[in-house]
């Protein structure tokens, strides 16, 4: 029931309502819980309400962080392989 769908705000209707889009489907969402929302931002929608603004920088950072951790582990693995030889 705590399902959340990321959608893009395409049109601000009023201080508490906007239209959001996902894969071509446009739906009205209530934006009362996230003040200062702007068109073009991505939000997490739960039961017709935007409950949080998605932070693009953090999403990217997370992917890079994990890529770095995995690269480092691969390098350590190779180092161990060389030492075993």
């Amino acid at each position: 029931m705590c399902l959340g769908v990321p959608m893009k705000i395409v049109e601000i209707v009023s201080s508490y309502k906007a239209y959001a889009e996902l894969m071509g489907v446009k739906r009205p969402v209530y934006t009362e819980l996230i003040p200062d929302i702007k068109a073009g931002q991505y939000v997490l929608v739960h039961a017709g309400f935007a409950i949080e603004i998605l932070n693009e920088d953090e999403a990217e950072k997370r992917i890079h962080l994990f890529q770095e951790i995995l690269d480092k582990e691969d390098a350590n693995e190779k180092q161990r392989d060389i030492q075993r030889l």
Partner: protein, 375 residues
């Protein structure tokens, strides 16, 4: 990857990319190593029912089943709703000239003698909503009827219910009321872990409850119960990175609450949502949870200034004390004590077509998920 693509592909990309494959390889190795060292499987509870579904749907539960024992937690709102609360909601549906507005999950849950679905077949007006604000549109559409919103859910949903109550007040909709069986997660986790009757290595925390409450809210899990915990999202990449980070903390015996869902969850959560929630609701003395019994301060009730919106007192419904369905072990399943496979009814007399307990009814109940993906 360009930032714009992150969210546009976000929800529907079920095909693993290179990063998912790499993390999976490392994850399997790490899990096997820890389980080998411990001499038994690592036991992790996913508190939220949506996580139970996504772990099984993505195949992660099955892939790691040799080393990882995933247990469901009390985070499926329909599953933890007490039988007596459910009976009260069903009784409201039987009253003449009422319209029940509910999320779909509740409709098929069997009460002591009937269900909302059966009452609907008998002619009750039951409206399944996507958005609780639909209740207000129905108030205007049917001015001669009483519109009753069934308030079930955790912190993710409570601010929405609160907003709906505020709007009903503002629009002076006299025919709107709400029945509250809403729950808050912290007292349940304190009860679960405080009685020492559990053996868990770590927790996957509910991402969208955390979006409202914030990461800091969960620090007590590490501080008081020495449990490593990870806040994660719901996509395969979120699940994998969450598990990976959690397993690393378990491996290093480093209990802390890590936020792997930073693009949604802030340290303090959604302050505006919390304000709206507590403008309308206040903590109740105690509430009864299926499987956990009575937990002090674990439910919210309407504040005195909104009490006239309470359907329970408006319709003075009295239901008899009820018991959970006999031999249904839902209560033990949602507290992580047993897996659905250990319930004698599972996939025998209890199936999604003929559910006996709520864990088999709710789309995010552990039994329904296991039946769909793991049988």
């Amino acid at each position: 990857m360009k930032s714009k693509e992150i969210f546009s592909d976000y929800n529907f990309s079920q095909i693993p990319g290179e990063l998912e494959k790499d993390i999976t390889d490392h994850l399997v190795l790490l899990a096997n190593n820890i389980a080998h060292r411990k001499g038994k499987k690592i036991r992790i509870m996913e508190v939220c029912g949506t996580h139970t579904v996504e772990f099984a749907r993505s195949g992660i539960t099955q892939l790691l089943s040799d080393s990882l024992d995933l247990r469901s937690g009390p985070g499926c709102p329909v599953c933890v709703t007490d039988q007596q609360d459910l009976d009260q909601m069903i009784a409201l549906a039987a009253i003449k000239d009422t319209v029940i507005v509910t999320f779909g999950d509740l409709v098929r849950v069997p009460g002591s003698s009937t269900s909302l679905e059966k009452e609907k077949a008998r002619g009750a007006h039951i409206h399944i909503c996507y958005n609780p604000m639909e209740a207000l549109a129905l108030c205007e559409k049917y001015p001669g009827k009483e519109i009753i919103l069934l308030g079930v859910g955790f912190e993710t949903t409570i601010p929405l219910l609160a907003y709906t109550v505020l709007q009903a007040e503002q629009r002076k909709l006299g025919n709107f009321s709400i029945i509250t069986a809403i729950k808050i997660i912290n007292p349940a986790l304190h009860t679960l872990f405080g009685n020492k009757d559990y053996s868990l290595d770590g927790l996957i925390l509910p991402g969208h409850v955390a979006a409202i409450l914030g990461r800091k809210n969960f620090d007590y899990l590490a501080a008081d119960y020495h449990l490593p915990a990870a806040i994660t999202g719901f996509q395969p990449l979120d699940l994998l990175t969450g598990l990976y980070s959690l397993l690393e903390d378990i491996n290093k015996n480093n209990p802390k609450v890590t936020n792997l869902y930073k693009h949604v969850v802030k340290e303090e959560g959604n302050i505006k949502a919390k304000q709206i929630m507590y403008r309308v609701f206040q903590e109740e003395q105690a509430a009864r949870w299926r499987g956990l019994g009575v937990i002090p301060g674990s439910s919210l009730e309407l504040k005195p200034e909104f009490r006239h919106r309470d359907a329970g007192s408006r319709f003075k419904i009295k239901v008899r004390p009820s018991t959970d369905p006999s031999s249904c072990r839902c209560g033990e399943i949602i507290t992580g004590k047993i897996s659905p496979f250990e319930c004698p009814l599972f996939n025998q007399s209890c199936t999604p077509a003929n559910p006996i307990g709520p864990c088999m009814v709710s789309a995010e109940g552990a039994c329904s998920t296991y039946h769909k993906f793991l049988v």
